[in-house]
């Protein structure tokens, strides 16, 4: 999952769409509330609904003349508001819902582990298959279109993969912090690397190592796992930033 976040993060950051992870995570707050209300697996409810929200953001951006960041803000605030309304009116599951705000890797069920493994593989496969198309639209969308690449379809795939990876991330780091798993490894890699393939590889390395160290450190220091993973990522960013400056 960390690899998926970091790979997608490189494309999203370079396309100035990095906050989409944040927006979709806020939507997932509402979808988790719906899942708990219906006594269903929150992840199963969240996958289609967050995917739908991602397509709404894309459509708002393309058709309704709403800027990308405004489209994210619009859908994101709707998600939070809906989540809060469901939580306050339904009652009884506030504790469960609020555990999704900051995540807890130790509470992941075996069903969720399998879901995460399967979906992460699907995301990785999609990135491999569409790597060149994603590179082309990230560097120059107009040229990509002229080159015969189906830009709208590739954009949809990118945003749907992002929605999947966000849903997987909420149980581990929570809705408040999942976007950091998308943004931070990519931004850190961009500080030190000059080629595209190397940026993807280094972002992946940062993401995986930060999750491993974060889980280990949270266990040893008795800290929340999600927040510790993000802090490790942030330390990597500072180190990469300083290295980039002195190099």
């Amino acid at each position: 999952m960390a690899l998926g976040c970091s790979f997608l993060g490189v494309f999203l950051v370079l396309r100035r769409f990095s906050l989409i992870g944040d927006g979709l995570a806020h939507v997932s707050f509402a979808t988790v509330a719906i899942g708990l209300l219906l006594r269903a697996q929150p992840m199963v409810v969240s996958i289609p609904l967050v995917g739908l929200a991602s397509l709404v953001i894309l459509k708002l951006n393309e058709k309704a003349r709403v800027y990308g960041d405004a489209a994210i803000g619009l859908v994101s605030s709707f998600g939070i508001a809906l989540g809060v309304i469901i939580a306050s009116t339904a009652g009884g599951f506030n504790v469960d819902l609020f555990s999704y705000l900051f995540g807890n890797i130790l509470s992941v069920s075996s069903f969720e582990v399998w879901m995460t493994a399967v979906i992460s593989l699907l995301v990785a496969l999609a990135i491999v298959l569409f790597f060149h198309d994603l590179f082309a639209i990230t560097f120059d969308e107009e040229y990509a279109y002229v080159s015969g690449i189906k830009v709208k379809m590739v954009n949809k795939i990118l945003i749907l993969l992002t929605s999947l990876i966000v849903v997987l991330g909420i149980k581990i780091v929570g809705t408040m912090l999942v976007s950091s798993l998308i943004i931070l490894p990519a931004v850190s890699a961009l500080q030190i690397v000059k080629s595209f393939r190397a940026t993807i590889a280094i972002a992946g390395v940062f993401a995986v190592i930060s999750v491993i160290i974060g889980i280990f450190a949270s266990y040893v220091l008795n800290l929340p796992s999600g927040a510790t993973i993000v802090m490790i990522n942030f330390i990597f960013f500072i180190a990469a930033f300083l290295y980039g400056r002195i190099k």
């Binding site: 569409f130 590179f135 560097f139 120059d140 040229y143 002229v146 690449i149 000059k194 080629s195 595209f196």
Partner: protein, 246 residues
């Protein structure tokens, strides 16, 4: 047969005509300079030829309607560089150039050694082989423009469409760029459509001029332009200045 045939082309943006009733034909190895004042529809014409904007009228390439023509395989395109290039983008010159072969690849795209060889060859033709490992953002404006031209050439297109390619270049780089394009046109028989606001410079290299001002004002050789009484009426003393620079 014409390689490009445009009949009665009209492009509207939100109901306002940006181009109206433009018709012209181009033949293999023509070098057409598309000129005109700001807002005259030069870039709009290019975008219509590339199907980037909706249009009315007819556009044919090699006798086939644009909608049926695999333009990506036959056209090399150099967009206005400054409009999109992110100076911090993490890609080397070679990564950018080789992306020019994506047009000829089926899903899932896979790059072969031949593709990388083609990229190196294109960079060699443009004299930028030494830049292949350098990040695109660390190159000068002229070098970046050559990288993007190499990307447009890597799949050996028959038609090259260049949109204001020299706008950010110093005079020396500008002349070198025009000479490179002219060499491709003369030696490789590539048909060139080059948009510029600088009619004098384009006139030095192009075999034909296409002057737009939301409609077609003139289409013909530079000599015809200079001898045309209609152009004397249209430009007044301006025609003499343009022809004198040529």
């Amino acid at each position: 047969m014409s390689i490009i045939e445009v009949k009665n082309l009209t492009v509207k943006y939100r109901g306002i005509e940006a181009l109206s009733g433009v018709s012209f034909e181009a033949h293999t190895a023509d070098y057409i300079g598309i000129v005109g004042p700001n807002g005259s529809g030069k870039t709009t014409l290019i975008k219509a030829l590339l199907e980037l904007v909706p249009y009315e009228g007819k556009i044919c390439f090699s006798g086939r309607d644009l909608s049926l023509f695999t333009k990506e395989k036959h056209i090399g395109y150099l967009p206005q560089k400054m409009s999109f290039l992110d100076q911090r983008f993490p890609a080397t010159a070679k990564e950018i150039v080789v992306s020019g072969v994506y047009c000829c690849k089926k899903f899932p795209k896979h790059l072969s050694q031949d593709d990388y060889r083609a990229a190196e060859e294109a960079m060699g033709i443009l004299g930028i082989s030494n830049l292949k490992g350098r990040p695109i953002g660390r190159l000068s404006g002229g070098q970046q423009q050559r990288v993007l031209l190499a990307r447009a050439l890597v799949h050996r297109p028959e038609i090259l469409i260049l949109d204001e390619p020299t706008i950010a270049l110093d005079p020396q780089s500008r002349q070198a760029f025009y000479e490179t394009v002219q060499k491709l046109n003369k030696e490789n028989k590539v048909t060139v459509l080059l948009v510029s606001h600088d009619i004098g410079s384009v006139g030095k290299y192009a075999s034909k001029l296409l002057y737009l001002d939301r409609q077609l004002i003139f289409y013909g050789t530079f000599e015809e332009f200079c001898k045309s009484p209609e152009m004397t009426d249209y430009f007044g003393a301006g025609q003499h200045n343009i022809c004198h620079r040529h």
